[in-house]
Amino acid sequence: MSHKYELTKGIFKENPVFIIMLGMCPTLGVTTQVSNAIGMGGSVLFVLLCSNIMISLLRKVIPDSIRIPAYIVIIASFVTIVEMVLHAFVPSVFDALGVYLPLIVVNCIILGRAEAFANKNTVLDSALDAIGMGIGFTLSLILIASIREVFGAGQITLFAMGNFSGVIKIPVLNGYPIRIMTLAPGALLLMGFLKAFFEFNTARKAKKEAKV
């Protein structure tokens, strides 16, 4: 396997959210605003990268029988670091993410990558795998959050910078938002339709390949 493959597989082929279906709780819980999705994606990317590197470095030291508790402690330490940094520098994102931030510890993506990849591969490959998976996760979150916020609130919330207030209003939808999309049922319905689309896409591709 080439290094490039390790980096890019997380974005489409093994996308953690739509294909492997891991880490659903934060995916649906925080995607009411695009800025929250970016905050969550960034946090997961950081924790995933650090824990994958750390676990890969320690893969010959950690005894096999207690590896899961060891991984959890490593992950929890990095999550605590992220919590403190966000609390100090972007309190608005920290408040919006709420309980979902400490819950990164039990996000199946991170433990899953540690168990399935980092404890068998070199540090470089593990880091590339983490970056790819992290970007795949972030992009999926941004996709879900954009759809939910555009239809549910008629706007896109980003971070305020200089003259830019951080909110882009969408003309027509802003006046007549479909509120349900930002609420819980909208998230579940949207996830169902997106998953169906991905299944349809995979089936179509398989059919095409079978023909050729």
Binding site: V73, A76, V79, L103, P185, K195
Partner: protein, 197 residues
């Protein structure tokens, strides 16, 4: 908030699955038949109740007096992992029949968002010991209710003419969305009307 208010909040108003999305992985993964759904629900209820009490005590008597609040996440996840292991051993020794019913679900529960979630929510909301226990127990109850309802729907869906792309997980999500829609009737106004806030 009164104790009855806590129970109604976590069973209905902020149901862990349908409103807060905590514990969604087992909800989709283990809801294919009603027997295993009941097993999973009971196991989760048991662990959330015990974990709420133990985590509350660890936080109040061990972390808070030494100003170690920032170690909350690390401490809670270790407590929960150890607790699940302990519960598994105790059940295996005490009641082999219960172990047979719940055993396979217990290892999955360590990484269930619902358990760590309720432990953290208890601290954030500032519940006392009894409040934490009730919150944990009713969160588990709400989870059980949602997963059992879901498993019954999915048993029916197996024989329904569903489009190929929607079969399995996608239609399960859409059904859950419709259930969540019904649960929107239980909002915070309900608690105010009952005078429980």
């Amino acid at each position: 908030m009164s104790y009855l208010g806590i129970v109604i909040t976590y069973v209905f108003v902020s149901n862990f699955i349908l409103v807060q999305f905590l514990g969604l992985c087992p909800f989709i993964g283990v809801s294919k038949n009603s027997e295993s759904a009941i097993g999973m629900g009971l196991a989760v209820t048991f662990v959330t109740s015990v974990a709420s009490v133990v985590c509350y005590m660890v936080y109040t008597f061990l972390l808070a007096p030494f100003a170690l609040e920032y170690l909350r996440t690390v401490a809670f996840i270790l407590v929960i992992a150890a607790l699940v292991q302990l519960v598994e051993m105790v059940i295996r020794k005490m009641s082999p029949s219960l172990y047979k019913a719940l055993g396979i679900f217990l290892p999955l529960i360590t990484t269930n968002c619902a358990v760590l979630g309720i432990a953290i929510i208890n601290i954030d909301e500032g519940y006392n010991l009894l409040g934490s226990f009730l919150a944990g127990f009713s969160a588990g109850l709400g989870f059980t209710m949602a997963i059992v309802l879901m498993s019954n729907i999915r048993e029916k869906l197996d024989t329904a003419p569903v489009r190929k792309a929607f079969k399995g997980v996608p239609i399960a999500f859409i059904s859950a969305g419709l259930m969540a829609l019904a649960f929107m009737a239980f909002d915070k106004g309900l608690l105010t009307n009952l005078g429980l806030v």
